[in-house]
């Protein structure tokens, strides 16, 4: 059986093939599980890319800095492999056994950290507080107080991880490290 090449499968997954070629590929896919899996993988990757497209304007310098920091983190975690005896003495990684496991764990940590960064535009815990017309909520870029169609927002535009918390007396807090100043900054909004 002759399989369509990767380009055709990728275009099929994106519904970008012409009608004739599309019908031909569809017939092939009906009888070829291997190619169906390929198409599925392309479609899945396309969904991820679509999600990434929703990122707001990215500061590439800052992204580079973050990536460098995460690589450093990965390297540091990798060094823990050499310090396995040390870890045993500390009991910090008692559940791991073997250098490979530690290296895999380090990679996962680096990956999770990077993932968290990339996920940042959709904040992890967007709480909202309302009080008689005034509404407090977390948005992708900050915390926002909305009243009668007017809004006041405090933004965290130069930040890595952001922690949100809600005070039930009617406050919203976002804490982050400002990438420019290196200072922790804590933004608060209150409804009166």
């Amino acid at each position: 059986m002759t399989h369509p090449d990767q380009t055709i499968l990728a275009l099929y997954a994106g519904q970008d093939l012409g009608w004739f070629r599309r019908q031909r590929t569809r017939r092939h896919l009906a009888g070829c599980r291997e190619c169906r899996d390929e198409v599925q993988a392309f479609a899945s990757a396309r969904d991820h890319l679509a999600a990434l497209n929703e990122l707001p304007a990215i500061s590439w310098n800052r992204l580079a800095m973050e990536m460098k920091a995460n690589i450093r983190l990965g390297l540091a975690a990798g060094e823990c492999v050499r310090g396995e005896r040390m870890a045993d003495a500390l009991g910090l990684f008692g559940i791991f056994s073997g250098a490979r496991t530690v290296a895999a764990g380090a990679s996962v940590i680096a990956l999770v950290t990077m993932g968290l960064f990339l996920e940042r535009p959709t904040p992890p815990a967007p709480p909202a507080i309302s009080s008689d017309g005034a509404v407090l909520r977390a948005t992708a870029s900050g915390i926002e107080l909305n009243q009668d169609g007017q809004t006041l927002s405090l933004l965290h535009v130069r930040s890595g991880d952001v922690t949100y918390s809600a005070g039930v007396q009617g406050s919203m807090t976002a804490g982050y490290v400002d990438a420019d100043t290196g200072n922790v900054t804590i933004n608060n909004l209150y409804v009166q």
Binding site: L73, P127, L152, Y190
Partner: protein
């Protein structure tokens, strides 16, 4: 930028500047004459104006350079940000804790603010920034303290000392390798911390809460040496909503307590715990003399859901846990739980990291363990 936007920007900034009589600036910074901080410069950086329908969106990127003109080291600053014409029912603040600013040193504070308002507004000042408080190394304080920032900055400073002490002890006992492991653990905890989508309504009932509502008791965690203990507590639960928490607290200490903050966790049907919020009590109506019992009460409803990337489904509340997160005495001193107590109660993986731990993690990620060790050794 298109030519229309450029014209809009120029017109907007001109209009804003026209409103600001004294400084010719859309942002008015007010520091009292006897302030220990002086304003060196104000930079409006990437500030810009754009139009959204009939409204104007102002993005203010305000970089302040402040000077410590006091004889003490500054540990924290809180600025009160007011835009009364836009949000008469609310206020905002920007705090910078975990500072270490020596006398005669300058330091930056950045305020990123967005205002959405009708194009036609009055001529009052657009944004006013006032100093609400400065905390010094010796815990002395300057400022009007309108936002109760003295208590929060003191608590942050205590947390900073607590967490630095912990990492310094790791460094002393196990060297750089130990510090690396401890930092990786902190980063891992932060990445895995369970989070919820929390909505809080104040001063009014949530419509759906009436169906199947029943009172549920809090379980309490106790810490050794805590000056105030929670005695009993309830909240009404209906599905994923918890309303009107009432918690009785008893003052175990010999001092009068000015305020108490109870941290509130919820447990789902699978036994997973999440931080829901904090329940503070303070003010003249909250009177907790030595040996007395008082009630922490908030007319509040929490609606809890899983995050959108975790299905976004309502969280069925199976249980609630509370613990004392902060106590402020009448003399202004503050108590917080120590790190060992939090670790023993397995709270480190649920609570948010302190601002200082956030700063140290960031320093480690960006500059490595040597820079972190140097920073810890400064204190």
């Amino acid at each position: 930028m298109s030519s229309k936007l450029a014209i809009l920007f120029v017109a907007g900034v001109a209009a804003l500047c026209a409103q600001e009589t004294p400084a010719n600036n859309p942002v008015k910074i007010n520091l009292p004459p006897d302030s220990p901080l002086t304003l060196i410069s104000t930079d409006l950086g990437d500030s810009h104006v754009s139009q959204r329908g009939s409204a104007v969106v102002l993005d203010l990127d305000v970089g302040l350079t402040l000077h410590n003109s006091s004889p003490n080291r500054v540990r924290g600053v809180t600025l009160l940000v007011a835009a009364q014409e836009v949000t008469p029912g609310g206020k905002a603040s920007v705090s910078v804790p975990s500072l270490d600013v020596a006398p005669n040193q300058n330091f930056p504070v950045r305020i990123n603010l967005r205002l959405l308002r009708p194009a036609q507004m009055g001529s009052g000042p657009l944004v006013e920034v006032n100093l609400d408080g400065v905390l010094f190394q010796d815990y002395s304080f300057y400022g009007p303290n309108r936002l109760d920032c003295r208590r929060t900055m003191t608590a942050w400073e205590l947390e900073a000392q607590r967490d630095r002490k912990y990492f310094k002890s790791i460094l002393a006992a196990h060297g750089m390798e130990g510090l690396k492991h401890a930092m990786l653990q902190s980063l891992s905890r932060q990445a895995e911390r369970p989070r919820l989508d929390v909505q809080v309504s104040r001063g009014r009932a949530v419509a759906s809460a009436a169906v199947g509502e029943h009172a549920v008791q809090f379980a309490f965690l106790r810490f050794p040496g805590e000056p105030v203990e929670p005695v009993a507590g309830w909240a009404e639960i209906a599905g994923n909503e918890a309303r009107n928490p009432r918690i009785d607290v008893h003052n175990l200490s010999a001092r009068q307590v000015r305020s108490v903050e109870i941290d509130w966790m919820v447990t789902d049907r699978q036994g997973k715990q999440y931080m829901a919020g904090s329940v503070p009590a303070s003010g003249p109506e909250f009177n907790l003399k030595a040996g007395s019992t008082s009630r922490v009460l908030q007319d509040t409803a929490l609606r809890l859901s899983r995050l959108a990337n975790d299905g976004g489904t309502p969280l069925s509340i199976a249980g609630m846990t509370g613990f004392v997160g902060q106590v402020e005495f009448a003399d202004g001193k503050v108590w917080i739980p120590n790190r060992e107590a939090l670790a023993n109660a397995q709270l480190l993986g649920i609570l948010e990291p302190s601002p200082e731990e956030q700063r140290l993690m960031d320093l480690y990620r960006k500059k490595g363990p040597k820079a972190l060790a140097d920073e810890l050794n400064k204190f």
